[in-house]
Symmetry: C2
């Protein structure tokens, strides 16, 4: 017998038929004498529909009321799933944000879960009941409805697992797990059986959008074992653990890439303290998300070049800001709108000599020019011309024995 | 300055555009220094969609969870309307069932509002805020979500007006008010400016489906002045008062009719106590709604004929029950599937001699045969052949000076 938190994403509960399917998954787990708390997302498309309604009224729709509006989506799923379980003769009950309550702090649309009252639900679980909790939401200390950001149902699941001291937290979604690279592009991509929290973080922030990064981070902090698996197959998913528990036979766990990137280089920037801050502060204020930043040692000790990557649709806005900013002195701006970032990720990299060299050599063999490089302990990213992306991923996937 | 409860029905808030229009109606009332509490229904179609989802799971969907499911509809409208008001620079806030709270008692899907905490909302009103309340719902003493039956937003509006001691309660809907008869059938139908609660009750239960009858009844008990008016025009609506306040220059206020009726007569029933109960108890248990019941004095002191009307689609079920019931002795059953009920309603009828005679004479002039008659203090109904309905309504509308 284990206490399990099972989280079902939007596509997993996207229709009544799928909700009934989810009820059967829960029924099976329940029949194996597990205590089940199910955390549910809104039916797929629902949250976007509600956001569209709010935008018809105002692009700057009041955030308090937006939270009231959006939180209705998970409420609908929770009630339907509870009803579907009861129909299967399983004792079940939906618990709304205020009924538990799920206490949050922080601003509307971006709150954090800080506590839940576990007593009533624990009693219900002991009494053989399945508890259904709406993801993505909570209430503030003042009794206002709050939401915790897009993809927040993952965060609800992890917080629930932590606060209820669950044995595991299973994220049911529309893919089989975490893959060594994008299975839609590279048919030989393989499902990863086990992965460490930090590898998962690097992979998810790089585009393997299986789970919300901050939820993975929370799981890492509290050491909550996760499993990402498909709602639609019986296959085993990907287990996400602390890296101590993983045997690294391979140096590289996966190959990730991001699309729609652009690269901007400021040439001839004064090489003195505060310059980088002057460049990135106004971009941050304008909500422009800067990804990689590369700065080399300056050759003449006086000026240097700073390269960074952003999303392609923000290039003109970014260049406008740079050009209009009197605090930044530079000799030229150049940009390339058609670049991609390709990364190899692996907690075993740091202990395996030659990974870096192997990657550069592989790209060189394919005549792929590297435009910029950035590394961390478990990740090595390169910027290349976009049309080389597929070739690069294939080659790297092969040479690091992931096929 | 007045404190007003404004209730907006499903079609009035059926699209974002209409919600914005409602926001403008509220803005106008607010600019005239009125304190406004708006009670809102779910967007039209929404509640039915949610019911359909639940029925895909089970025709006997758990009632607790159904209430959780359905209550989300008004929550969405409340948030959108609050956001639309804020966009118009009006201070506004949605208050959910549990935030007020709206306390109810009674079973799921059929609860009654028994109290609301008025302090917080009254403070908000004094502070120039517009409060938005979801109709149709509340919470139980145990903190469960409850709903108060279809059309329940009218009941919420009246209860709100009572508990907040409002000066008036205005029901905004998709018609101009209460009409002397169906304006879709009789072009000379006229909007009634003032009507008493009990006339309104007779008219609404007879098919002038403008407002939920039990809400009118509550308003009558607590003497809360109502006004039914259109969301889509600036025209004055129909005011609904205590009859003391109405000057009855006309004996008849309106002509109502109901469709899809059928008449069943049991011939030769024993004329002794308990017979009627034996007939109608099994029908009631089978959820068959019996409308008119007519029983004449028996001519032979031994047997009598009992006639009653029901909805047409329940005729065969009703006859089966009657035939299979051993407690009922009769010589024959006859039925007529194509009848209609036409009624004249007017609080002035009781004090105006000759209304009854005038009605019968008018129908006779039109060669319309009366199949059954039933009267109350403010209503006189006849059952006629269905194909005579339109003629009867027209004639009665004319002779009682309603054109």
């Amino acid at each position: 017998m284990a206490k399990k938190v099972l989280k079902f994403g939007g596509t997993s509960v996207g229709t009544v038929e799928r909700i009934q399917h989810v009820a059967n998954i829960i029924k099976k787990e329940h029949s194996e004498h597990n205590q089940i708390i199910a955390v549910v997302s809104a039916m797929s498309g629902k949250t976007n529909n509600l956001i569209d309604l709010s935008k018809e009224i105002s692009n700057d729709f009041n955030k308090r009321e937006l939270d009231v509006l959006l939180s209705s989506g998970e409420q609908v799923t929770a009630a339907l799933l509870a009803g579907a379980l009861i129909k299967l003769k399983i004792k079940a009950k939906s618990w709304l944000n205020w009924q538990i309550p799920i206490l949050t702090e922080g601003e509307h649309s971006n709150a954090r879960i800080i506590n839940m009252n576990v007593t009533k639900i624990n009693n219900f679980l002991k009494d053989n009941g399945v508890a259904i909790i709406p993801g993505f939401q909570g209430i503030s200390k003042l009794g206002e409805v709050t939401t915790i950001g897009r993809g927040g149902s993952d965060a609800t699941a992890v917080a629930t697992a932590k606060l209820f001291d669950a044995d595991s937290c299973e994220i049911y979604t529309d893919v089989d797990g975490v893959f060594s690279t994008d299975p839609n592009k590279i048919p030989v991509a393989k499902k990863i059986d086990k992965i460490s929290y930090d590898e998962m973080l690097e992979l998810s922030s790089l585009g393997a959008k299986v789970m919300q990064p901050s939820a993975v981070q929370t799981a890492m902090i509290y050491d909550i074992p996760l499993e990402v698996r498909s709602t639609f197959t019986d296959r085993k998913g990907t287990k996400i653990f602390d890296k101590e528990n993983i045997d690294y036979s391979k140096s590289v766990t996966g190959v990730a890439y991001s699309k729609d990137d652009a690269k901007i280089t400021l040439i001839g920037v004064k090489d003195k303290p505060g310059v980088a801050a002057n460049i990135f502060e106004p971009l941050s204020k304008a909500q422009i998300n800067v990804d990689m930043v590369i700065q080399n040692i300056s050759s003449d000790q006086k000026t240097t070049d700073i390269t960074f990557t952003i999303k392609r649709d923000e290039v003109s806005k970014t260049i406008d800001i740079l050009k209009n900013n009197k605090d930044i002195v530079y000799s030229d701006i150049v940009h390339n709108d058609k670049v991609a970032k390709v990364s190899i990720v692996g907690a075993g990299m740091v202990s395996t000599p030659g990974v870096t060299y192997k990657m550069f050599r592989a790209l060189s063999d394919e005549k792929i020019n590297i435009l910029a490089i950035s590394t961390s302990e478990i990740k090595l990213s390169v910027i290349i011309e976009e049309n080389n992306t597929l070739n690069a991923i294939k080659k790297l996937h092969t040479i690091f024995d992931l096929d």
